[in-house]
């Protein structure tokens, strides 16, 4: 039932067609007493105005949409991100995760009201801050070759192994593999520590996510004071330069503080009615 058609707008399966097209896609929450607009959103393949739904001085950034479960297709994910980016130009936004649709403006107000204090608190803490992502990879095979040449213990073992007769090599190879894994982990840990050391003075906070795949040794997010973005940029380049060709640095941003805000909501069927 989730594998819905790629173009939800084209769907008119529901008998109550009109009500079905009157949902609100929510992108995030900002601070503002006045109504604001943010151009158009193409989420779900439509082209709708992005506007705000207020509760006091906080407001949700939304656009009209059919009530629909969105697939995180390339187009949808980028449309979501595009709206967030245009909001970020002038506001601190607490992002909503992808695909959150409410049925009415009142539902949205109800949610804003019930978590008002927390939203205010988070908005205050995140004002003027940006997130950057940093992924560091290495050429694992090349590093292993280096270890075989330069790591004393591994080098000796490897040499011995290549001289040995076949019958003993199976376990010996296993042992060599374990030695290499251990050396790789130590080396990666040292590198990551050095990278953090080079960046800590220019960031407010950081978060260590799990590296993806065996080439990645670091998958971090940094929270930066907006006006220090250039300093952070310079620091990343300085650190990367230090490692030269050994490590590849890929960094992305600015993002809203996805990795530093974690608000979990559980909604339940209302008993009014």
């Amino acid at each position: 039932m989730l594998d819905a058609a790629p173009h939800p707008v084209a769907q008119k399966a529901e008998p109550s067609g009109r009500a079905q097209s009157e949902g609100r896609y929510v992108y995030g929450v900002i601070e503002s007493r006045m109504p604001v607009t943010f151009g158009k959103s193409s989420i779900g393949g439509v082209n709708e105005d992005v506007y705000t739904v207020h509760y006091g001085d906080i407001t949700a950034v939304v656009s009209r949409t059919p009530v629909f479960i969105f697939d995180p297709t390339r187009d949808n994910a980028l449309a979501h991100e595009h709206v967030i980016e245009s909001v970020m130009k002038n506001y601190t936004i607490i992002p909503m995760s992808f695909g959150t649709v409410f049925r009415t403006d009142d539902d949205i107000r109800e949610v804003l009201k019930s978590i008002y204090t927390s939203l205010k608190d988070v908005l205050k803490q995140m004002t003027g801050k940006l997130e950057f992502g940093l992924k560091v990879t290495w050429d694992r095979d090349r590093i292993i070759e280096e270890l075989k040449r330069e790591h004393e213990e591994i080098h000796r073992f490897h040499q011995e192994l290549t001289r040995k007769h076949l019958q003993s090599t199976y376990f010996a190879r296993m042992q060599l593999g374990r030695m290499i894994d251990k050396a790789l982990a130590e080396l990666a840990a040292n590198y990551v520590r050095e990278i953090y050391d080079g960046l800590r003075s220019v960031c407010v906070a950081s978060r260590d996510n799990k590296p993806i795949g065996d080439k990645m040794i670091m998958n971090a997010a940094f929270l930066i004071q907006k006006e220090r973005e250039a300093e952070f940029d310079a620091a990343v380049n300085r650190v990367a330069q230090k490692f030269g060709e050994r490590l590849n640095f890929k960094y992305t941003g600015p993002w809203p503080p996805y990795n530093f805000v974690n608000i979990r909501l559980k909604l339940e069927r209302g008993n009014a009615g």
């Binding site: 607490i94 992002p95 539902d107 978590i115 992502g133 906070a205 260590d208 992305t252 941003g253 909604l267």
Partner: protein, 93 residues
């Protein structure tokens, strides 16, 4: 030089990595049931990763070992949990 910088929206993997399950998240099962029924928040757990997550922790323990234990960044220690509107507890006998 081995530094590649791209703006957020141009890297789909990084977008998906963030938008799918970070920020303000509504439980997945509810997202499905959102279609066409009246909903009211009954419970909201708000978790704000404290501003100093890694760095402060690193200061306290010394940086060693953190890398091999990345889950420390998510540990309960640096998160503040606010029960906003707790669900009425069910009576049990």
């Amino acid at each position: 030089m081995a530094v590649e910088r791209v703006s957020g929206g141009s890297s789909l993997i990084d977008v998906l990595d963030r938008v799918l399950d970070k920020g303000i998240v509504i439980d997945a099962w509810v997202r499905i049931s959102l279609v066409g029924i009246d909903l009211i928040t009954v419970e909201a757990r708000v978790v704000v990763a404290s501003i100093d997550t890694y760095l402060k922790y690193a200061d306290a323990v010394g940086l060693t070992g953190l890398v091999s234990r990345p889950q420390l960044a998510e540990g309960a220690a640096e998160e503040e949990v606010v029960e906003v509107k707790p669900r009425p507890t069910r009576r049990r006998r």
